[in-house]
């Protein structure tokens, strides 16, 4: 681990990245370390959003308390997800609004929690990355990051510095992909109609790669694209920014020689 005097960052890798796509976590670590941060990964599970959005306030609170205890000692907490960072930044203070004991702690954690690209650009002042991708990419604005945290220009600004990458905007890049957490399963048929709009828009651009900053949305769009038979590679924006695109795209098979 590089020894630097930079800020001590607790990486909240998010449950989906932890379980489904560790590459995104390592890409985030690489980007943060390149920017001079000391990155640590405390033992963690989830931000509690599934419980919170299902109306299960009790479980959401106890998971949030666990998060606060785990991450309160860091200078910053960074997550490669606008949705999970938004949960901490916007919703933890709401969750503890009537609790004078926990509210200050929730607010303190909220104030130092950032989504990855926003942290790099808005806090650390990063303007360029050292990465290369030859081809056309398009970027989907995941809803929570866009509307709760104002993330829109930050990832695009960093993508503009990726050598060889041409960003072609899709129509309605800022409309929902139909994921919505448990919504995608509970109302699968409606979710399907919405994601079909999104994949149509992505395909229209002629891009060879679809990017976003939230793994839930990415899995939804990747799953639909592959079901429809489209060959667009789907990746988390951090993978491209870190130049770590060794792992096959989301939902794509590993090359035969690498299968274990």
């Amino acid at each position: 681990m590089p020894k630097t005097s930079g800020p001590r960052v607790g990486l909240f890798v998010t449950c989906l990245v932890d379980l489904m796509r560790p590459s995104v976590g390592f890409a985030a670590v690489k980007l943060l370390e390149q920017a001079g941060c000391r990155v640590e990964v405390p033992s963690q599970t989830c931000c509690g959003q599934p419980a919170y959005n299902s109306g299960d306030r009790a479980n959401a609170r106890s998971i949030a308390e666990q998060m606060i205890r785990t991450f309160s000692g860091f200078d910053y907490v960074v997550a490669p997800s606008g949705s999970c960072a938004g949960m901490i930044r916007v919703h933890y203070p709401e969750l503890f609004a009537d609790d004078p004991n926990w509210l200050p702690k929730a607010r303190a954690l909220a104030a130092k929690t950032w989504e990855l690209t926003s942290f790099l650009v808005d806090v650390l002042g990063v303007t360029t990355v050292n990465a290369e991708y030859q081809g056309i990419a398009t970027y989907h604005d995941a809803c929570s990051g866009l509307r709760e945290l104002g993330i829109s220009t930050q990832p695009r600004r960093l993508l503009a510095s990726v050598k060889g990458l041409e960003l072609v905007e899709m129509t309605d890049a800022d409309t929902c992909c139909g994921f919505g957490g448990t919504f995608a399963v509970k109302y699968g048929q409606i979710s399907n109609a919405i994601v079909a709009q999104k994949t149509r828009r992505a395909v229209e651009t002629g891009a060879s790669m679809l990017l976003a900053g939230d793994l839930g949305c990415l899995m939804n769009m990747a799953g639909k694209l592959s079901r429809e038979g489209h060959a667009i590679a789907v990746r988390h924006v951090a993978e491209v920014l870190a130049g770590t695109t060794e792992a096959p795209p989301i939902g794509a098979p590993k090359p035969a020689e690498h299968r274990s």
Binding site: D18, F179, F183, N192, G223, S260
Partner: protein, 476 residues
């Protein structure tokens, strides 16, 4: 009885809507239009965001002092020669209106567009009392011919194509020449005008809704684009205004502020074609106007929302922007919601009005994408209110058992990080092995809700936490 409810079968309704090719074609046409027009209208007004703050503040202030402004409103209406009737629920409102109509010996009643009339199922009730209600808003007129509910709060017949409307007109207007041309929207409109003109002249009573009720002056305000509301309320012997209690605003100036955000948010117009202010019955020197002026103020559960976390729902000025920007509404249209108010505002209002047990699906059928809140002219925190309803459902065990047990299972591990790491490491390892050939699953036990429509990407293998501990060692 209020309007019939099919909200409990929301999923089946949605499924039908998705399979309805005609509806899907109408919805995809609307998808672009409303949002683009609102964006343009808002963009042309530099103070639009500040006006939204002001609109929100006016509504919050009014709701915090609703009792005082209602009293003031009653006083000013009375002073101008009108009469205010309070109705606690739909049945009372219907009874008041019916007896007013009967006291005026009314045979025909013309109606301007009113969501409250839909909410209380007024037309059916009037018909049962032998009074003929005639909707005069073009969209409402069309859905009345079809015995349907509005599918959108400002575009009641938005779910229909011109062809369907032509067929309805040919079916109903049998006294008109068969070979007439109805191929254009303009010819449909002209025919409706022609038919309705006679109805306006024959009507004994005109019933309108109200976009605003002004406490300062006792004035009711309607916002229309067809002028039908003006004829409805001016020509007959009596004008009955039917509105819910939260339509009151303190002053004319407050009303003007709200009007500036209303049409821009709704249709992208700077202001609607007609904005009509009416105060009391015809005075001796007036050239026209109704002989009597009545206001029926409906509560129907709204006062119980004051002082609760659902109070902000009452800020709504019924512009429809939330549904115009909702990916769910755009996919399934308004009827699938199963009652009078569709879209995000319906998802938070309907549970209050018909019971959260019946409307349980509505606040759940949202991705929380937040676009509704982003465009709401009075900044109602719609996703937050939907979440509040989900919390009520969870507390009352209305949440489906499968969801509850799934959540409990997941939360058990999420609260035990060490166990979670072990279990997820093993599970992801197995899942990755199973999915190694294709990198995704086309079918997976317990994931049918997902894999019926799209593939499930397979996990990479070891979890991040396991790999991190392996690579960086030590404390993880």
């Amino acid at each position: 009885m209020v309007a019939p409810v099919t909200s409990p079968s929301f999923k089946a309704n949605a499924s039908q809507a998705l399979a309805n090719a005609q509806l899907q074609s109408v919805l995809s046409g609307m998808r672009e239009g409303f949002a683009a027009r609102r964006r343009e209208a808002a963009g042309q007004l530099p103070e639009f965001e500040a006006l939204r703050d002001s609109a929100r503040d006016i509504k919050h202030h009014t709701l915090a002092h609703l009792d005082l402004y209602l009293e003031r409103y009653v006083d000013t209406v009375t002073a101008s020669g009108g009469q205010v009737h309070f109705a606690r629920d739909a049945a009372e409102a219907r009874a008041i209106i019916t007896s007013l109509c009967q006291s005026l010996d009314a045979k025909t009643v013309t109606k301007g567009k009113s969501m409250i009339a839909e909410e209380i199922g007024l037309n059916d009730h009037l018909e049962q009392a032998g009074i003929v209600p005639v909707e005069t808003d073009l969209g409402e007129y069309i859905i009345q011919l079809r015995h349907e509910m509005p599918s959108h709060i400002i575009g009641p017949a938005l779910h229909l194509s011109a062809k369907q409307i032509e067929a309805d007109f040919r079916r109903v207007h049998t006294d008109l020449p068969r070979d007439r041309d109805l191929s254009q929207p303009a010819t449909l409109l002209a025919e409706a005008r022609q038919v309705l003109r006679q109805r306006f002249l024959a009507a004994d009573v005109g019933i309108t809704g109200a976009n605003f009720l002004i406490a300062e002056t006792g004035t009711s305000v309607i916002v229309t684009n067809e002028g039908n509301g003006d004829l409805t309320q001016t020509l007959p012997k009596a004008h009955i205004v039917l509105a819910s209690i939260e339509k009151v605003v303190p002053t004319l100036e407050d009303c003007a502020q709200l009007l500036r955000v209303l049409a821009r948010s709704a249709t992208g117009q700077e202001i609607s074609v007609y904005t009509t202010f009416s105060t009391g019955p015809r005075r001796p020197d007036d050239v026209d106007g109704p002989g009597a002026y009545h206001v029926v103020l409906l509560d129907n559960g709204r006062s119980a929302m004051l002082g609760t976390s659902f109070r902000d729902v009452l800020s709504c000025i019924r512009c429809g922007a939330c549904m115009n920007h909702c990916p769910i509404y755009e996919s399934i249209g308004g009827h699938a919601y199963g009652w009078v108010y569709p879209g995000p505002i319906g998802a938070v209002l309907t549970p209050s009005l018909i019971g959260v047990d019946k409307a349980a699906h509505l606040p759940n059928a949202s991705t929380f994408c937040g676009r509704c809140e982003e465009v709401c002219p009075v900044r109602i925190p719609l996703p937050k209110l939907m979440r509040h309803w989900r919390e009520r459902e969870f507390e009352r065990h209305l949440t489906p058992a499968a969801t509850r047990s799934g959540l409990a299972f997941w939360a058990f591990f999420a609260k035990r990080p060490r166990l979670y790491r072990l279990v997820t490491r093993a599970a992801m390892g197995m899942l990755a092995y199973a999915g190694r050939a294709r990198g995704r699953f086309r079918r997976l036990p317990f994931a049918g809700g997902w894999t019926e429509y799209r593939d499930l990407p397979a996990p990479e293998g070891a979890t991040f936490q396991a790999r991190w501990r392996g690579e960086r060692g030590g404390r993880a």
